[in-house]
Symmetry: C3
Subunit: 273 residues, 3 copies
Amino acid sequence: MKNFIVLLTDFNNDFYIGQMKGVIKNINPDAEIIDLCHNITPQNVLQTSVILAKSYKYFPKKSIFVCIVDPTVGSDREILLVKTSCYIFLVPNNGLITEVINKEKKYFVYKVTNTKFFLPKVSNTFHGRDIFSPVSAYLSKGVSINKICEKFEKTKIVRLHSINTEVKKVGDKKVVVGKYLFSDSFGNIVTSLPEEMLNKDDIDKYRVTVCYRNKPMFVIKLKKCYTDVGKSKLVAYINSFGYIEIAINKGNADKFLSNKINLLTTEFLLWYE
Amino acid sequence: MKNFIVLLTDFNNDFYIGQMKGVIKNINPDAEIIDLCHNITPQNVLQTSVILAKSYKYFPKKSIFVCIVDPTVGSDREILLVKTSCYIFLVPNNGLITEVINKEKKYFVYKVTNTKFFLPKVSNTFHGRDIFSPVSAYLSKGVSINKICEKFEKTKIVRLHSINTEVKKVGDKKVVVGKYLFSDSFGNIVTSLPEEMLNKDDIDKYRVTVCYRNKPMFVIKLKKCYTDVGKSKLVAYINSFGYIEIAINKGNADKFLSNKINLLTTEFLLWYE
Amino acid sequence: MKNFIVLLTDFNNDFYIGQMKGVIKNINPDAEIIDLCHNITPQNVLQTSVILAKSYKYFPKKSIFVCIVDPTVGSDREILLVKTSCYIFLVPNNGLITEVINKEKKYFVYKVTNTKFFLPKVSNTFHGRDIFSPVSAYLSKGVSINKICEKFEKTKIVRLHSINTEVKKVGDKKVVVGKYLFSDSFGNIVTSLPEEMLNKDDIDKYRVTVCYRNKPMFVIKLKKCYTDVGKSKLVAYINSFGYIEIAINKGNADKFLSNKINLLTTEFLLWYE
């Protein structure tokens, strides 16, 4: 049985990632490391939580996820180990695990405490290298959770506010109001509108209104894929991880819209014609 | 015998790459994944085709190349499997394979069709994860092409227009006219002028004229390497994959020239003094 | 015993890295490649030297470091192999190895010369692929250094000027003057002020003055971590690799300061209150 350690950080391309890999391989040369991604917007715990929750099921069972988006490193925030039926997650107790435990019925939570499994010298600003990495490596070698951790009360887990979608009545129409979650490197805009909000047999009847300062700016038809609209046209669709996303066919929707509005305070209204 | 799966995408650093790796490892934990690169300019099929054709020969025989630059994902474009004597390529039928099959005399083409080897749920916008990745993983486990694919007519392969270099007479001089292909992360500018156009024993006699709106903007001497010119000077040379490239010694030629001209409509004239 | 090859380049996300990996795996499919990092500022040999020296000890013994920040590639600069008690380093002779050999008492230096272990065709601008990669792969397969290299005189190693910190008297205060080294992807600013300059039991008494054109611009208190100051406040601290670093809590110090001053000519004054 192979042991996979999956890394998810906001370190972008910095050498911090390489140092973590060095630490892991030094302890367990047979651990196999997979990068989930490292281009989280700096300190964006919500984005990390969503990406983690939408990705972990694709990985081999028993994978250990090492998640370092950790703006409060060095403070008294705990380092948690969350064990679900198939996976282990190492996370700072800052809300990052929220979307995972919203999906998992049964899970166990521990606090990482045994300094014997840390690097000998622990820095104040890089627990990813000094604590998370060695702990993940020892876990991948078969050291039991109980040797490394103590029990932790679930009520003490920091949780993010649930991703808000609000249902409103506008005239006689039911409207679901979503927010901006993040953009990917194509400039595709992920909204918080989940696919569960719509009837998939009837996709062509849905519209997304991009609303800024209570003014409707764009009304976009829901389609199946980019090429269902002409080049350089705005298009909305259910993305590959279950949210409604806005793109420009062969263009960059984030750049286009960010020139006109502040995405962080924009509302995305989903409605049925 | 190890099985290598080589990834080439325009996903930059997005988590889409990590999800693909998860899918592959979940099906074949022993597959070894190598990133060729992921920083293709979004949707630039020509750039991808060139980089693939100039890179695949460096990889171990039997490597499976998974190439996802796929702006028409979700439309009726086919997914092709192209088998050469040494390699397998999985590509959308959008021209990406052009430069490879221009080099290979003998190859076989199939269409990927057997949904049994796809993920159970296939999204409209991410076949890289839902089709290409599982198919590559099953291939790497030894599933035969015939179980996954159907034959596909070579005449139906979408091909890019061949990379144009035109030979003109200017006065009594023979001039080869090339175009802009792409820039690398140093800002070095790859032109479509191939090394075959010049006599390598006589490199010092060649010049490249950068021509914009029919006006010659810069005349650059062909040299062997960056340091053959002074710091911050423009230099042309045969690059590491056989094209004439323009750089600034310890500088960024793309930034410098893009401030003055539109590289996409610039002509690069190669001539012999 | 596994053989690790660690890559450190300024290739960012370019396909050059993928080609190097292909070459290595083609020669030694069992070599395991780890990316230390590839986002060195183009041609910044000093930054590379610091990152290498602060990172190599985290990697498994016997790791082979392949370091390609090589602006003088194609000139007559040598390619060196430096062997310490635990590691092998392949570097261009351009100063990159300086910070490593400043730390290592005992080491051996060779010049890579045997073209039998290069790719058959060596380009003028990409020795990383054509020389460094195959040589590292053969070394990882157990080919002895003597077969690939010749002895090289230590006095001929190009060395960077030592990273300057100067101690001055300002009034009756002892002040240590540091320079800008580089910024990470968070915009945290690494200064050349080493932690050895201060008494760690008394951290709260230290200040860093950011001084531009001899004018003090900001006075920043030394703290333990980011959250020791309010959101959007400047903070100084000992970073994870032993230098004093300047950040903005949940912000980007590099962007903030670069709008006001030129970091390359800024001085960072460390003093005790």
